[in-house]
């Protein structure tokens, strides 16, 4: 086996092996949404959220206050809310292609498993006469 061939095989292994076998960080879209029952505008991207929460509360105003794509691992990441609270997100585990996240948004502490194209909504407390929501979903 020539040196060149060996180098090329090593390169291929180094490039593709991590993709195939590593439990890399999990990408999560973290949006902070302000919701209010007073009449207002609903962000077009939040219509699904309005329908989902509509079973309990008819929000008439939904505004995205922040949006970020996080890369979560065991070290975690934080998301600041405009009401002074801070959400802590960590990757608890990754088994059979399903990641489990732990979300601490005082006073709530929850763990949940991610699902393809599904969202997790966590109420983040009152703010400016409405509610803040932390919405975690699969990045687009």
């Amino acid at each position: 086996m020539t040196t060149l061939l060996r180098r090329q095989l090593l390169f291929a292994v180094l490039v593709f092996a991590p993709l195939a076998f590593a439990d890399g960080p999990v990408a999560v879209q973290a949006d902070v949404v302000f919701a209010s029952t007073t009449a207002g505008k609903v962000d077009p991207s939040l219509v699904k959220m309005q329908e989902t929460l509509g079973a309990k509360v008819k929000y008439l105003t939904l505004e995205k206050r922040s949006s970020q794509k996080l890369s979560l691992d065991a070290k975690g990441a934080t998301v600041a809310l405009p009401n002074g609270k801070s959400a802590s997100l960590t990757l608890e585990g990754l088994k059979d292609g399903v990641a489990t996240l732990r979300v601490k948004l005082p006073p709530t502490d929850a763990t949940y498993s991610l699902a393809k194209e599904k969202s997790f909504y966590l109420q983040g407390g009152p703010h400016e006469g409405g509610d803040l929501w932390l919405v975690l979903s699969q990045p687009k």
Partner: protein, 202 residues
């Protein structure tokens, strides 16, 4: 009065000036020139004439635009460009002729990389991103701080999303709890997708 030697060397004077004689002839002419002032003067005339002629030609050459001449010459010298296919054939034949080892090794390496990359890519296409293998979001545990006067309400929707509300619970004294366990079961509107969340939770 005729000089027989001069008559003999006279036809050689012009070739001598032009450098066309053999070394032996040249040596004989130079010996003759040392003995014949007439021949030496004639050689000097030839050289002066040559100088004048050269200057005149140089001046004429300066006046001529040689660009087209150069292009014509280079156009004839430069070989015609081969068609692409022919050039590729030539390139590959030369590579395989002179660099066969590295070429074969390179092809084998590339084939190995493709063999790894194609199945990997095929497996990734249409598959959920890393961590999103489930079909529904499932809340596994949920709790609140022990001193909090609120309680969480979990609502898992038909479409597979999950919602956690935090509602007032003045009577709450025992802090957090796990979803699906303990006596707070009614706080969780668990999984049956068709089940509406319980209004008293709010």
């Amino acid at each position: 009065m005729k000089n027989p030697a001069r008559e003999k060397f006279l036809p050689m004077l012009s070739p001598y000036v032009d450098g066309e004689l053999t070394p032996e002839e040249r040596q004989l002419v130079e010996q003759h020139l040392q003995n014949s002032k007439e021949s030496a003067a004639q050689v000097a005339d030839f050289r002066a004439g040559d100088g004048l002629m050269r200057n005149a030609l140089d001046m004429q050459a300066d006046d001529v635009d040689w660009k087209k001449f150069t292009e014509d010459v280079m156009g004839r010298v430069t070989p015609e460009k081969l068609p692409l296919l022919e050039r590729l054939k030539l390139t590959f034949s030369e590579m395989f002729l002179y660099q066969r080892g590295p070429m074969v090794a390179g092809l084998v390496g590339a084939a190995a990389a493709v063999a790894i990359a194609i199945p990997l890519t095929m497996s990734l296409v249409g598959q959920a991103p890393e961590g999103y293998g489930a079909g529904r979001v499932e809340v596994q545990t949920v709790s609140v701080d022990t001193e909090a006067t609120v309680k969480p309400v979990v609502y898992e929707t038909e479409s597979g999303d999950a919602v956690i509300w935090v509602v007032d619970a003045p009577e709450k004294k025992d802090g957090g709890r796990k979803k699906g366990g303990g006596s707070d079961e009614e706080d969780v509107a668990p999984t049956p997708p068709t089940e509406e969340p319980k209004k008293q939770d709010l």
